[in-house]
């Protein structure tokens, strides 16, 4: 292939007829090309198909001894209600008398993440303890909403959160905002 004839084309001397010696070398360039193509293919496919996992720990139901559960001050809990159409509603405190008015927000960088960072800092400043986030997905929310919410908490480095079943009072809040 990419080889120049360097034999120089010397004069043939007369005399004995010799059988021409054939070279035993095989051109491997094409084979190497193919091999590297396959290597690249396998490298890319094996690393890309690896699934990522997100660990989730649910609160222990502890049906026998419910009194073991420790109450958390309402002033440092942020409740996030997940509604339909990728909307959520959040408030501080308890639903019957929230410390801040329930607000409808979006997922993502400019939505709940800002709230989490701001409220987290504010609660840390006023109470000296970390914020506790309660996620309450409603029946109208989808799996992606839950994952997005947990993901935001991981991004903002909030270790204290729990997924809890929604209560009728909170469903009414969602209904009022027309996201249920």
């Amino acid at each position: 292939m990419a080889e120049l004839d360097t034999s120089g084309g010397g004069k043939k001397k007369g005399g004995k007829v010799r059988s021409k010696k054939q070279s035993t070398r095989v051109d491997l360039t094409a084979m190497v090309d193919l091999a590297f193509l396959l290597v690249t293919f396998f490298m890319l496919t094996t690393t890309l198909s690896k699934a990522k996992a997100m660990d989730l720990a649910m609160p222990d139901k502890n049906e026998e001894q419910p009194q073991d559960q420790e109450p958390i001050a309402a002033s440092r809990t942020v409740t996030v209600l997940l509604g339909k159409d990728n909307k959520l509603e959040w408030f501080v405190g308890v639903p019957t008398e929230p410390k801040s008015a329930p607000t409808v927000d979006n997922y993502g960088k400019d939505g709940i993440r800002k709230v989490l960072i701001e409220k987290g800092a504010e609660i840390k400043r006023t109470t000296g303890k970390d914020m506790f986030v309660i996620i309450k997905p409603s029946d109208k929310s989808i799996y992606k909403n839950m994952i997005d919410m947990i993901d935001e908490l991981n991004i903002t480095n909030n270790k204290l959160y729990a997924i809890v079943d929604i209560t009728p009072v909170e469903i009414d809040l969602l209904k009022r905002e027309k996201i249920y």
Binding site: A2, E3, L4, T6, G8, D27, L28, T29, M31, V32, A35, F36, L38, V39, F42, M43, T45, T46, S49, K50, A51, K52, A53, M54, D55, L56, A57, M58, P59, D60, K61, L82, K109, P137, S138, D139, K140, S141, I142, Y143, K144, N145, M146, I147, D148, I150, D151, N154, I155, I163, D165
Partner: protein
Amino acid sequence: MPRVKIPRKSTSIDMTAMCDVAFLLLTFFILTAKPKVEDPVPVDTPGSASQVLLPESDIATLTIGGKGKVFFGVEGFEVRKQLLQRMGDKYKIAFTPKEIERFAVMPSIGVPISLAKQYINLDGDQRKEYKAPGIPTDSVSNELFNWIKEARIVNRNISGKELRITIKGDSKEEYPTIQRIIAILQKQEVNKFSLITSLRGK
């Protein structure tokens, strides 16, 4: 003055060593590559910024998709064999050794236990065509509960490690389905599990 003769050199390079290296790498990647397991239902996993990789062994996967259908799969041939035997004992279904062998190479199951025998005996092509209804998750038959419970017992007996439950859910799956499955897990005190997500930037 004699002309200086420049010796003409061959332009060919010895490719043998390069070829060796290339094939060595190729062999390595082929052997380490795991064939992609096809999902029983199309599942579009939601994205997250989580970087944690899944372990290779001691895991069971609950695939949730297609309007609330649940499929159950567990890693390891030996685990699957013993799991089917135990499930057969529990529901009074006698599986033949051949059926157990066939079940050992199936990545997941998604039919009620009463249809399991029929499902296992399907050919590869037929199985692809078959519309699996998913494992019942209601509390009356408790089938999913038993699959998970038996798989945990079998895995603990074989490898001595706790089985890790992972949930692979479709983004559009409604929350009540997920809630029901988490409740089933919590009923047997599995409070820690992993959610499979695909990678996404922050």
